[in-house]
């Protein structure tokens, strides 16, 4: 089975598929971060968020991040990085970051690294839809060339610990 699952698409995220991608007899820890559209941002009531991406570069960025984190924490490490596009209602899953490793410390380190880097580097934009009918594109982090630096709430689910 490939060691990375990478998706950037309008297809709804299937957590069973993520769990399957992370399953490995060598890995006693599996850690899945799920980003979900929440109903409030900076005091405004959100009804939905539209996500768009520069898809080819987004996929390439996620693959680069998977390789970076594997180099950082060491193999074996299975990685699942999924970002959904299109208009999502409150409660729908927008982002999944899944990792599995022999021990929990690699998974915690990898998961944290991945979400923080995704926030800085992934070419994805969010337009929030508000209860009064208005919509706004959110500001974010300016991208830099390599070598140069509706909101979601996240819940971390430890699927199993087999240590």
């Amino acid at each position: 089975m490939p060691s990375n699952l990478i998706r950037v698409s309008e297809e709804a995220i299937n957590l069973e598929r993520v769990n399957h991608a992370l399953s490995d007899a060598q890995c006693g820890a599996e850690l899945v971060f799920v980003g979900v559209v929440r109903d409030k941002n900076e005091g405004r009531r959100v009804t939905a968020v539209t996500y768009e991406a520069f898809v080819p570069l987004a996929k390439k960025t996620l693959l680069a991040l998977a390789n970076e984190v594997r180099e950082k924490v060491g193999p074996p490490l299975r990685v699942a990085l999924l970002h959904r596009l299109g208009t999502l209602q409150v409660g729908e899953i927008s982002t999944v970051i899944g990792v599995s490793s022999p021990h929990r410390s690699e998974s915690y380190d990898a998961s944290r690294y991945l979400i923080e880097q995704i926030k800085l580097r992934l070419p994805v934009w969010k337009e929030e839809h508000y209860i009064d009918g208005s919509r706004d594109w959110l500001d974010g982090v300016e991208l830099a060339p390599k070598g140069g630096s509706g909101d979601t709430s996240g819940r971390t689910i430890i699927a199993h610990g087999r240590e």
């Binding site: 980003g35 996500y51 768009e52 991406a53 520069f54 080819p56 570069l57 987004a58 390439k60 970002h83 982002t95 979400i115 995704i118 926030k119 800085l120 580097r121 992934l122 070419p123 994805v124 934009w125 969010k126 337009e127 594109w137 959110l138 500001d139 974010g140 982090v141 300016e142 991208l143 830099a144 060339p145 390599k146 140069g148 979601t152």
Partner: protein, 87 residues
């Protein structure tokens, strides 16, 4: 040469169907392209466009964010990327 630049997010409204079409010299740096984009949009959208929107955006192709001193010598899949907020 004529190039098409894909626009995203807050910049999308300045293109047609999210694309900006520009004529540029055959050998044009990213820095020069950025200036030409700002000039073109300032002319087409004098009331709405602010140069900071392009100053804060990155020019990229499918493979990477481009640095200002790189040259655009043919017509790759270019995109103008506002500050990102994925995840």
């Amino acid at each position: 040469m004529v190039i098409e630049i894909r626009l995203f997010g807050v910049l999308k409204r300045f293109g047609e169907n999210g694309m900006l079409v520009l004529e540029i010299p055959c050998s044009c740096s990213v820095s020069e392209l950025r200036s030409r984009i700002k000039q073109a949009l300032a002319v087409r959208f004098p009331a709405e466009f602010h140069t900071a929107l392009v100053d804060r955006a990155a020019l990229a192709d499918e493979h990477q964010v481009l640095s200002e001193d790189q040259f655009i010598t043919d017509s790759p899949n270019l995109a103008l990327l506002p500050p990102v907020c994925g995840g």
